[in-house]
Homo-oligomer: 168 residues x 4
DNA sequence: GATGAATGAGCCTTCATTCAT
DNA sequence: GATGAATGAAGGCTCATTCAT
């Protein structure tokens, strides 16, 4: 069920190598999936943080990241779908979550600062993230939102809701 | 990848029947999965709409549904995970989405009313749903939010953000 | 290395069934090998004990069994080779040896009686068996003894040595 | 099935070289196995013939060799097991048996002499060997004789049977 | 001479599915 | 309607072997 549950053979074919070659680089299929997930997550980080400027007003920082994220997801939909599926699979428990989270440290710090400056609601970070990032995952996912057009206006509107959610 | 990618044999064993019996009721495995998805979605509807009262203030209606949803997901985590995985799988395109959406018509109507009464932001319904429902899916999913405690206080806090997002 | 290390596919082909069918009857390859070993051992027993008569003089009893064994091995060389290989493999430790030994109880009893009647040397049973049965395994195995002809005279001669070994 | 059916990779790893290096010295895996078998057999010979003295009485010569063999097998169980498995495998037919036998020529000569001096039974050499050497293989093999203790007394007792078998 | 990288072939096993009963 | 038995196809993985370096 799902693209990420692709077989090793298919993954190898797409990579243009023999299935056996996969096992030269990865211990087994789980290792391949976990490594790929971590790799993709690592690549997400710089994309989100492109032109990151923590001197801007907090709202602008988030808006900037929000647009980066939309762009990156849109341009890397296959990777993004893989991440979604992986996150919902039992394998996700094999990943050292803290290590992955740290790629997004700068964002956590902005959140922290926003809370301290009483700009952002002082609630559990997971709640903030659920409103700041997850709606993007839905809206940018064509199989979930077929008739939502991903133009700048709509994305900006959506950001308004995200900001209203987290701001004090 | 994932609990829902169970084999027909295992599904049959859990149901206490022979694998062959499955094929008396379903054309093939895809049919089984799709039917199960629709079935679960149908069962979601009355749970969400339990004690639904469209005479209440709009905010209270949503708050009530929001709590219903948390409770139902928490008590039916396996079904919920299946739905998440299915939604992210290629099979989801085989489902007549409008038919499924209609189970949730009463909620759409409340949204509509809220917009007309200028209580809720006049934006694409998909945007509203992305903030009204999806954050629950994240927060109620233990594998995504391990250290977020699902007590009434936290859920209420989260609702505040949801409401702030969609309200005018 | 060896005929018994045949693949499941080959075993299935010889049995005229699909490899998948093997797994309807056996849990896995090890189960197949162990079950086959026990089966063959069970079939050995009645062959050795054919026309067994514990009223005869002890030497005659052994001579009779000795000839039975030669005949059975010669006529079931493939099974015998499998047993030899299996015994020398790590799988052999998975077999309940006592359960298998019990098929040959009547012979153990004859040995015991012989010892009590001071006809047979009073030594560890394993030593007796090493001279009473193992030489047959060598002599009847064409790949070990190519130029030893398995005629009645040679077998009888060999028995003389076996008997001289164990008799007092 | 069996320790000797190790993979080329594992054999290389144990030898501390790359699998490819194996193919510098051996044409293929069969060549490796056959060469190893012959090598081990060659090493067996001097161990058996240690302190060989053909001036001793024939019984003493055999007793001496018998003890040498027990000691060598006990100290080189892995090699011995390999030989057992190899002998029972189809590869054994690829070995020039006479060439291997010749390493044990001195023993054959003693047998010959014993026969001529009417000390040893005048029977086919294979029969003599089946009683002179094979019982050791059984008794020294822990997986075949778990509860037979390999102390000097037991070994001496076993030798008595071997000698009674072959002596006139 | 030695090896890292690569792979076709094959292995054990599971799966979705069929069909006679 | 229900199922036991059977299987072709495919999956994950290992292996013996090659070859460029």
């Amino acid at each position: 069920m799902g693209a990420a549950s692709s077989s090793v053979s298919k993954i190898a074919r797409e990579a243009g190598v023999s299935p056996a070659t996969i096992y030269v680089y990865y211990k087994n299929k789980v290792d391949l999936l976990v490594s790929t997930y971590i790799q993709i997550k690592q690549n997400f980080s710089p994309a989100l943080l492109k032109d990151f400027n923590d001197q801007l007003p907090i709202r602008d920082i988030f808006k900037h990241v929000w647009f980066n994220m939309f762009e990156h997801i849109t341009n890397n939909l296959e990777y993004f779908k893989f991440v979604e599926q992986f996150s919902n699979s039992p394998y996700s428990s094999l990943v050292n979550k803290e290590a992955v989270e740290q790629y997004f440290d700068p964002l956590s710090k902005v959140l922290q600062t926003g809370i301290e400056q009483k700009i952002i609601k002082n609630v559990h970070p997971d709640i903030l993230k659920a409103f700041m990032y997850y709606p993007i995952a839905v809206l940018a996912n064509p199989s979930l939102c077929q008739d939502f057009e991903l133009n700048a206006e709509n994305i900006e509107t959506a950001f308004t809701l995200a900001w209203d959610a987290i701001k004090r």
